[in-house]
């Protein structure tokens, strides 16, 4: 990950789950598959360290983009969640 301008890359930490920025098409696909609207997604703040790292890779991330988070789960090995980037 090219994240030089970030002092500490939180995504490399063991306890921080994977964050992936979805393209608009991917986001739409996810939403239609789940039958949800954007406003029903859980939120993540733009100021979140995870988003900061993604921004250093993808450039500025607008509000309303969708982030895919893959985390280790005790019950289901791996679990995929989606979050909507919001102000803050």
């Amino acid at each position: 990950m090219a994240a030089e301008n970030i002092s500490f890359n939180v995504l490399r930490h063991d306890l921080v789950p994977e964050h992936h920025l979805l393209t608009e098409e991917e986001a739409e696909a996810v939403l239609s598959r789940k039958g949800m609207t954007r406003d029903q997604l859980p939120k993540i703040r733009k100021s979140d360290p995870g988003i900061k790292v993604l921004e250093s890779i993808h450039g500025p991330i607008d509000e309303g983009r969708v982030v895919k988070i893959v985390r280790k789960s005790e019950t289901a090995q791996e679990f995929v969640a989606y979050r909507l980037v919001t102000r803050g």
């Binding site: 406003d39 029903q40 939120k43 509000e63 789960s73 679990f79 969640a81 102000r87």
Partner: protein, 934 residues
């Protein structure tokens, strides 16, 4: 739905400010006089008790709507205030608005670009599902950004900083000029609508100047009814008193102002009016003295009616009292089924179920009504009827006198409130209701006596005992409720706990001892004994007896136990009495601890807690999972009766004599303990002369403490071991401990052997006097006795110092429990209020009430924990065993004992552990503090 009388449905609710205009429009009358009643006792028109505002006296009619007492909802009136006053409830918002807008032109002090950006952000936020709280926080930020400017960017006016003198006065900092409410109102009026939107206020429903009152809404008299005392005097509500104050001052202020009184007097009166209006809203506003009643009691005004534990919300809305409920002491009845509850006749006669009369049941119901509310003769119990509700909604109380007439007049479409009968579905509950099993549906059994009775197996889910506990019972009133309760809440549906996927309802205490006697080493029962045990069970097939040497028929215990198992039941596990010897001899276990069931026949092994106990019972667990809840309920009912039968056949009792140990054993224990104490003395000596070898990472002192604790713990264990050896498996106390019925080997070794080291915070006792715990010891004594070691047993009796140390250790346990319960209760409350409105939707997501996703899949795997095998979605070992049969054990080298492992160990056992710890040190006080808590 309309059939139920629902004609309109609430789409949404919006809370907003009310404009003075609207106050006047909705007002039924203007209030101008502070007098309430005239000399004849009639309410004065345009007074506070004006009959236009509703009626409180029966017989009178409302002058606005013409309705009688319970029909008229009441109507608001209004007071026109002579001068505007600030509403305390909005003081923070007013301050925010004054600070963020220009004092001259009223514009929001942000540049146009900033405003535009803010507005866009806000719209975006709403679009992306930001809640009202987000909007509020964002608006606050906007206001903060706009405030504190020196010059207005629009008109260039210089800004004067404003300070709020609590509770309701604004002051300009520079020249100490007090802003009057009128000035505040004028400034708020100047704020343009567009700027309000930016600040998160909807100007169409709420203009900020409405936060400064020019008219005061007067609540209907029905909200503040006056009470007529026995002496005939009227006593007015606190709100009325307060309104009288407001009116009086308002009147004086108006007169003075109109008469052109000096500014100072007018201002004083204005301030007084502000005080009265403020206390009318909230009499606990900080910074001003609360308004008091003549007697000196503070008045209960609007905010006080709503706030706090005794307020409308917590006391009247969340804590509503209900009809059709009963509460009494509980007592046990092992002969009831687990899903029954014994209801005393006295309660059953009061509690009713509504029955709709139709052409099929009218004859039957007529007969019931004719019996009246107190049918004679009293025995046997037959239900009577307390009320008959006619089809027009009139409710007729049935009495012995009118019963015959009412029965005669009974017609189709009437509803009859029938007394309880056997089989009615009721909810049964014990506080604190900590989990869903605290409230379960039971079937009614009308019984003699005055207590609620239920099966002992249902004690653990309610956490009930019979030392005076009381429980509540609620009778379900509609078919929907009954269906729901029957499907979701009945006791058998809750056998498997969602906490750990194992049974929470199962055999306890004597049931387990009984099962042990029935099956351990396969005893023989002759015809008399076997029938005595079996006759308590219904719906069983008596197995073919075996024939003994003398030609007499007999049954084995394992045969009798197999009677209650499902026919094709199979399982293998190790019982609680297992000594975990290596290698396991399986079927040839010397302790009869290897349980093997094939085709519903118990082939070998002893049934104890691991078989049928609550939270550990594997047989129970399997039956509930594989054969359904009804079969599990039947199994529990039968197995407990069987066990009790076996126990009664055998006879069982325990007493202090069970802890008797032979003299040589006692000598052995005291020698061993003495050895250990000597070892401690040696350790202390080596510590003092510096020869003690320090452990890595520990100070010398810590090293000493650790080794001493080790030696003394060993002393207790050794004492326990010696005592255990002499007590043997024929000792009732040992049987209970080993089978898992009650008590532990630790309890026994403390009673028979040695109580052991007492500890506070996990360390040996060290507090009290300087360098010593008690004046009985020398200063600096680090020996075993000086630091809380009890070498005596409970039975032999503690020495005075030991007793004191024991109390020290016990006190810690008590404090811990007290702290733990209050803290975990608070934590639970916080958790519940955070999670209460989440629900699982049909697509598997967990969502809140707005529809926002909280979890994309329930528990991330979508599995109901109540249907798991100790938390795992599927039990592979079990599946293999099912497919491969006995081969599975050999093929997979599956340690069958570990199937179904120790689920429930996580939480339940931890609880048991602490429980044990407490009772181990505080057995005798156990009862005292338990009942003290009730």
């Amino acid at each position: 739905m309309t059939a139920r009388g629902i004609t309109k449905r609430i789409g949404s609710i919006k809370f907003s400010c009310v404009s003075p205009d609207e106050i006047r429009r909705m007002s039924a009358t203007k209030i101008i006089t502070a007098d309430t009643y005239d000399d004849e006792g009639y309410p004065i028109e345009m007074g506070l008790m004006d009959p236009h505002m509703g009626v409180i006296e029966p017989g009178l009619r409302c002058k606005t709507c013409g309705c009688k007492v319970d029909e008229c909802p009441g109507h608001f009136g209004h007071i026109d205030l002579a001068m505007p006053v600030i509403h305390v409830g909005f003081i923070k918002d007013i301050k925010m608005l004054l600070e963020s807008t220009c004092c001259k032109c009223g514009r929001l002090m942000l540049s146009e670009d900033q405003v535009k950006a803010r507005r866009e952000s806000m719209e975006r936020m709403e679009e992306l599902g930001g809640g009202t709280i987000d909007v509020k926080n964002f608006s606050k930020e906007t206001a903060k950004d706009a405030s504190g400017k020196g010059v207005c960017p629009y008109c260039g006016a210089e800004q004067i900083r404003i300070k709020l003198d609590k509770p309701t006065t604004f002051r300009e900092v520079e020249d100490n000029h007090k802003l009057t409410a009128k000035e505040v109102r004028e400034r708020l009026e100047r704020i343009p609508d567009e700027d309000l939107v930016t600040l998160g206020i909807d100007p169409s429903t709420c203009r900020p100047e409405w936060m400064v009152l020019t008219a005061l809404a007067v609540p209907p008299v029905t909200v503040r009814p006056s009470i007529t005392l026995d002496s005939g005097d009227r006593s007015e509500d606190d709100l009325t008193h307060k309104l009288v104050d407001v009116l009086r001052i308002n009147q004086r202020l108006r007169e003075n102002r109109d008469a052109g009184a000096p500014q100072l007097i007018v201002e004083d009166l204005w301030e007084l009016l502000q005080y009265h209006v403020t206390t009318y809203f909230d009499n606990q506003t900080s910074g001003i003295p609360p308004a008091r009643h003549r007697s000196g009691r503070p008045l209960k005004t609007l905010a006080q009616r709503l706030k706090g534990k005794e307020g409308r919300f917590r006391s009247n809305l969340s804590g509503k009292r209900v009809n059709f409920s009963a509460r009494t002491v509980i007592s046990p009845d092992p002969l009831l089924s687990i899903n029954e509850v014994g209801v005393p006749v006295f309660a059953a006669r009061e509690l009713t179920v509504p029955v709709h009369v139709n052409e099929h049941n009218i004859a039957q119901i007529r007969e019931m009504v004719a019996r009246g509310p107190q049918p004679v003769p009293e025995k046997p119990y037959v239900p009577g009827v307390n009320y008959v509700i006619r089809s027009d909604g009139r409710k007729i109380r049935v009495t012995d006198r009118n019963a015959a007439d009412v029965a005669e007049g009974l017609d189709i479409d009437y509803t009859v409130e029938r007394q309880l009968i056997d089989g009615d579905v009721v909810l049964f509950n014990r506080q604190p209701s900590l989990h869903r099993m605290s409230m379960m549906a039971h079937r009614v059994r009308i019984m003699e006596g005055k207590t609620f009775r239920f099966n002992l197996c249902v004690c653990p889910p309610y956490n009930a005992d019979f030392d005076g506990d009381e429980m509540n019972l609620h009778v379900l009133q509609s078919d929907e409720a009954r269906a729901e309760a029957r499907i979701l809440m009945q006791v058998q549906e809750n056998i498997l706990s969602p906490r750990y996927g194992g049974p929470i309802i199962g055999a306890i205490h004597d049931h387990i001892t009984g099962a042990y006697f029935l099956t351990h080493n396969n005893p023989r029962f002759d015809r008399f004994e076997a029938m005595n045990i079996l006759f308590k069970l219904d719906d069983i097939k008596v197995p073919e007896p075996l024939i003994d040497e003398k030609g007499e028929p007999y049954w084995t215990g394992k045969q009798l136990f197999s009677v209650v198992l499902p026919e094709d039941f199979r399982t293998t596990f190790k019982a609680n009495i297992c000594q975990s010897c290596k290698p396991c001899q399986k079927e040839n276990c010397p302790y009869d601890a290897y349980v093997k069931i094939r085709d519903g026949q118990l082939l070998c092994g002893t049934i104890d807690v691991k078989g049928i106990g609550n939270s550990k019972g594997k047989i129970l667990d399997r039956i509930a999972r594989d054969y359904g809840s009804d079969r599990a309920a039947k199994f529990i009912n039968q197995v407990t009766r069987l066990a009790l039968g076996a126990l009664m056949n055998h006879g069982f009792s325990t007493g202090i004599g069970d802890e008797d140990i032979p003299e040589e054993a006692a000598l052995q224990i005291s020698n061993n303990t003495q050895d250990c104490i000597d070892k401690v003395t040696d350790l202390v000596a080596s510590y003092q002369d510096g020869t003690l070898e320090q452990m890595p990472g520990r100070s010398l002192r810590e090293t000493l403490e650790v080794s001493v604790m080790g030696v003394l713990a060993n002393a207790r264990d050794e004492a326990g071991k010696i005592a255990g050896k002499h007590l043997g498996m024929n000792n009732p106390a040992v049987i209970m401990a080993k089978a898992g019925a009650r008590g532990s080997m630790l309890n026994l070794s403390q009673m028979a052997g040695c109580v052991g080291q007492q500890a506070v915070r996990g360390e040996r006792l060290s507090r009290g006097y300087w360098d010593r715990t008690l004046p009985h010891f020398e200063k600096g004594d680090l020996g075993a006795y000086a630091r809380g070691f009890c070498s005596n047993s409970y039975k032999s009796g503690l020495s005075p110092t030991e007793f004191f140390f024991h109390a020290m250790g016990g006190r810690e346990g008590l404090v811990d429990t007290a702290v733990r319960t209050s803290r975990s209760g608070y934590m639970q409350r916080r958790l519940v209020s955070a999670l209460e409105d989440l629900k699982l939707t049909s697509d598997g997501t967990v969502r809140n009430t707005v529809g926002t996703v909280v979890q994309f899949r329930y528990g991330e795997d979508g599995v109901d924990p109540a249907r798991t095998v100790r938390g795992k979605a599927i039990d592979l070992d079990d599946l293999f065993a099912e497919v491969l049969g006995d081969q599975a054990d050999e093929l997979l080298h599956v340690e069958t004992s570990d199937i179904g492992g120790d689920y429930g160990t996580l939480e339940k056992d931890e609880m048991e552990y602490t429980e044990d710890e407490e009772s181990e040190e505080f057995d005798d006080l156990d009862m005292d503090y338990e009942s003290g808590g009730e």
